[in-house]
Symmetry: C2
Subunit: 361 residues, 2 copies
């Protein structure tokens, strides 16, 4: 069945082109019934692990682990990697939530905060001396601001005694992160991987594991009970999970990552940049609209946030009648912004169609 609507939303989002084909394969192979302790499941996990490792250039020593969602991983990182103090770069609703999670877990959570639409560059960041972990958000889904990979890498290089965490929820696999520098990163599958929600992916290195073990064994602290890093880690090395995971989604993610590897991540990144340029150029020249993020280099490659003169609901409704689904602004910006996804599943044709229709408004 042809899809009725095209989704340009920041996630849940447009599904990957071959989603239905792969879902059917999962159904035909009865993957909803197989044991997560079976060799069959281990092979699925291994395949997804290997494809993600290739796609994101993740070293062999890092673990790739699965959770229920990316939000869950915010909590797991704080519980396992922070004893007392964390430091958060906050410039939107999701980076703020990571910060709030740390505070809710009783940590002394420091933050450097910017207004919506602004971002961080390396030079301006002052990291508190006792922060054990620096939490960065590579792509702020709420504001459409990115943090450049080079800035993240410099931040780690000049704070090599601290762990650095990268929220790449709504941008993976686009950012070219150096996982020899990045200690931990995470994403969910309902953004640029074009799958239904229900799976979080957590990448961590041995420094994170050592920290968790130190907190637990040397300090005698609780690192949580469910999905602790040491437990997830040791199971992942056997392509296993501590609890029953979302088997079907792990399979689907492996298939999508495999396809992406066939295309090649460089080509995907270039195409994403090209589409992003199309979108931003269009709105820079379209009356009644402007790109929310001023600094070009800090504009998200995967979620474009556009200020609208007319109430965004009017624009969204006109597009919806044409079965093009665009997101509203986040929170207080609901009526004054639209958000347009530029995920891998949003093809060049889809982006062109949207802009052509918006040109008529």
């Amino acid at each position: 069945m042809a899809r009725k609507q095209i989704f340009y939303t920041a996630g849940p989002a447009e599904l990957y082109q071959k989603f239905e084909e792969y879902l059917q394969e999962a159904v035909d192979n009865q993957l909803g019934s197989i044991s997560h302790r079976s060799g069959q499941f281990k092979k699925i996990y291994q395949h997804t692990d290997e494809q993600l490792r290739t796609l994101l250039n993740i070293p062999a020593e890092n673990a790739i682990m699965f959770t229920g969602s990316a939000s869950e991983i915010w909590e797991r990182i704080i519980l396992n990697c922070v004893e007392l103090e964390s430091f958060h770069l906050v410039n939107g609703s999701f980076s703020k939530k990571f910060y709030q999670y740390a505070a809710a877990l009783g940590r002394h959570a420091h933050k450097m905060e910017k207004p919506m639409g602004e971002g961080f560059t390396y030079g301006e960041i002052e990291v508190p001396e006792y922060a054990e972990l620096i939490a960065t958000t590579q792509n702020e889904t709420s504001s459409g601001v990115q943090m450049r990979e080079a800035d993240i890498h410099k931040l780690k290089r000049s704070n090599s005694d601290k762990l650095i965490a990268v929220d790449m929820v709504s941008s993976a696999p686009i950012p070219d992160l150096d996982f020899k520098l990045v200690d931990t990163a995470f994403f969910s599958v309902q953004k640029s991987f074009g799958l239904p929600a229900g799976l979080g992916v957590w990448i961590a290195n041995e420094a994170c594991l050592e920290k968790a073990n130190k907190l637990k064994n040397e300090k005698g602290l609780s690192i949580g009970a469910h999905h602790t890093l040491p437990e997830l880690w040791s199971q992942s090395k056997e392509y296993q999970t501590p609890a029953t995971p979302n088997v079907m989604e792990i399979f689907l993610l492996g298939k999508v990552a495999e396809d992406m590897n066939k295309t090649g991540i460089d080509a995907i990144r270039k195409e994403t940049d090209r589409k992003a340029k199309l979108i931003y150029n269009f709105f820079e020249n379209k009356q009644g609209y402007s790109v929310s993020v001023q600094k070009e280099a800090l504009r998200s490659r995967t979620v474009a946030v556009i200020d609208t003169e007319a109430p965004s609901s009017e624009i969204i409704n006109v597009l919806k009648e044409k079965n093009l689904i665009v997101g509203a602004g986040y929170g207080p910006k609901k009526l004054s912004q639209i958000r347009i996804s530029n995920f891998v599943a949003n093809s060049s044709e889809q982006i062109e169609l949207l802009l052509a229709e918006m040109d008529k408004i």
Copy 2:
């Protein structure tokens, strides 16, 4: 496509008969792409909520909430409902994990423990004075032992100052629990609801919520950050979730629960009892096999555990060649037991087919 294998495993398990039809409906309606903040999602949540409420006879004031898995809920219950001490009835691997979760979270976790294959009756249980929560496992998936509803209810009545939690992971919707007595209960969808893994369902009453608020606001304790009860609760009352949930599975669960309501829970429970009787009668009379749980009243209605004289792997392999998938014993019982699911999706014909094939062995 006809399913090749029939699963009699304790979960992931045989999928609900109409799973593929409902999955197709979810795909056709693009539920993998819709916003979890949309009215469309709220209607899906509301439908599932209402169908589960009818099916399990859950009062209006209780909340029905969604998590990534049932294991996650073990942790959430301890974090939100126990300040210092919990008490666990342990008679298998899963009830033990609940206990271990409490200990890992730094609680003083008490337990009363029975060997595998034995269960608890009300009269023998002594609840420690200062335990704030009694953790019961209605159906121990590892050992095939159930705790009768009447015993759970009596336990609460005589400990009305304590919260009672019921793990019904591998038995819901079969147990007829009185949710005016049970404070909190939980299950996952890959057991008797016949769906792929990836969703936990948490039912809690206002006493649980009050406890969480007390721990957080009066005592100033951390109740976690992700999926805290107050946050899940307030969102659920609007048919919303704090983080992006597994939208497709919530939809599927609603469809399955609706079908179950059409059949009627009484009829489903009777049919389950009838099939369970078939299974247990068969193995009581079959040479080389015996029912692991001695006390008839404590035998699980949904997961039959059978001791085998021959190594279970041999039996499992013979059946596998006929595309009948039966589970091994759990943990140390792997080779000396088989486990046979008697979930709603395991039709009468399927059970009869399995027993007929086993009769030939």
